[in-house]
Amino acid sequence: MKQWEDIFKDHLEGYEIKLPDSDRDAFLNRQATRERFARRRRTYLTIAVGLPAVAAIIMALVFTISLLSKQNGTPSNDTPQAPANQEQVTSTQTQDDADIFVTLDGDDDWGLPIESAVLSQSPGEEDIYVVVEDAPQFPGGTQAMGEYLKKNQIYPDSCRKNNVQGRVLVTFIVEKNGSITKPVVVKSVNRLFDTEALRLVSEMPKWKPGKHNGETCRVKYTIPINFRLN
């Protein structure tokens, strides 16, 4: 026996109230908008989480690399190459005065620096340049300097006896009048070679001074002095 509630249930359970077609369109639009926003939210979330993560990884890498390079004692920055003859230009730091200097790495050839860089400015002194438009020059050019060094080099006896060879790097300043001052050994081999290299440099004839912006200026210069036995 059916009760009246059951009849209510029969009539109402599957009852439909039609809505206009526009309602379906409204619903579908709403759903599409929601999905679009959900996608956008996911994108923003990815960016918000991803970017800091990538930045953190990069910073960690940079930190590690700088730590490693400090441990190895290698210079961490490269200077551009002198384009004239593709010689390598390296930059490092000396312990004495902590100034940056440029080395022209090559046995017989000398590159021309192209850019200007002010090195240091101690009180009472004029600027010392590392790279100038018009580089200072040994009288007669680099070839003449090579011949001068070869001709005047006195090979230390004990080194010759023990078959010791090497290359000393000497840095000095070419003053405005062309004289050579403050020669310093920046890459030493032994005391005998160092002394001889300093002697050779300080006894060099006056150079043709370097120029920058049309004015002569003090330029820091580094040359290699080779000690080789035939």
């Binding site: 026996m1 059916k2 009760q3 009246w4 509630e5 009849i7 209510f8 249930k9 009539h11 109402l12 359970e13 599957g14 009852y15 439909e16 109230i17 039609k18 809505l19 077609d21 309602d23 379906r24 409204a26 619903f27 579908l28 709403r30 759903q31 599409a32 929601r34 999905e35």
Partner: protein
């Protein structure tokens, strides 16, 4: 309920396929799901909520919730998709009612409805569904909710008690009052129409 605008292909699609295509966010399937069930679910909402606009809103919310969670639907024979959708819709409606805290508990036993005579079944059968809906909709909110859940949507008193945050005894008591009030409405209607 046919999705004529969505092509002939979707009309014959099975419930199971329709659900799985909705899972893949297939726009055509979403349209078909709406075409098949919106009117019925809207009627469900109208039973619980007297305001038609709010009912429409709730139907949309339920449909959207369905789109989001249709992955969790498991096909269980013909009609299971509608059963699942109806359940979801009723839950959405209950949540909304609770949220706006319209569902304040009326003190129990404060008023006893007089015991109206049971209406004749054959006569009740002649009442159009729209009128029945009108009668249900005119019940006070708490009574309407309990009556809908228990008598039409097949919830148990335990489930109603949980959903509405009342006791099972309270649910049964409210049901008795809504039945009494409805009986009165039915008798008045029958008297008025003279069926």
């Amino acid at each position: 309920m046919n999705g004529s605008e969505f092509g002939m292909g979707t009309n014959s699609i099975s419930e199971r396929d329709l659900a799985s295509r909705c899972t893949d966010k297939d726009r055509e399937a979403q349209g078909e799901l709406y075409a098949r069930y919106a009117a019925r679910l809207y009627a469900v909402c109208c039973r619980y909520v007297s305001d038609r606009e709010e009912a429409q809103d709730l139907m949309h919310d339920s449909m959207i919730k369905a789109m989001d969670t249709i992955r969790s639907f498991t096909y269980n024979g013909e009609g299971s998709l509608y059963a699942w959708l109806k359940r979801l819709t009723v839950n959405t409606v209950i949540d909304r009612l609770r949220e706006v805290s319209k569902m304040r508990m009326v003190p129990l036993d404060s008023t006893m409805e007089p015991d109206y005579p049971e209406p004749d079944e054959d006569e009740v059968d002649n009442i159009p569904a729209s009128v029945m809906l009108q009668m249900v909709a005119s019940l006070p909110e708490v009574r309407r909710t309990v009556f809908n859940m228990y008598c039409i949507d097949g919830f148990t008193h335990r489930e109603i008690a949980q959903a509405m945050n009342i006791t099972e005894k309270g649910s049964a008591s409210i049901l008795a009052k809504s039945r009494a009030q409805l009986k009165n409405a039915i008798n008045e209607y029958l008297k008025r129409t003279g069926i």
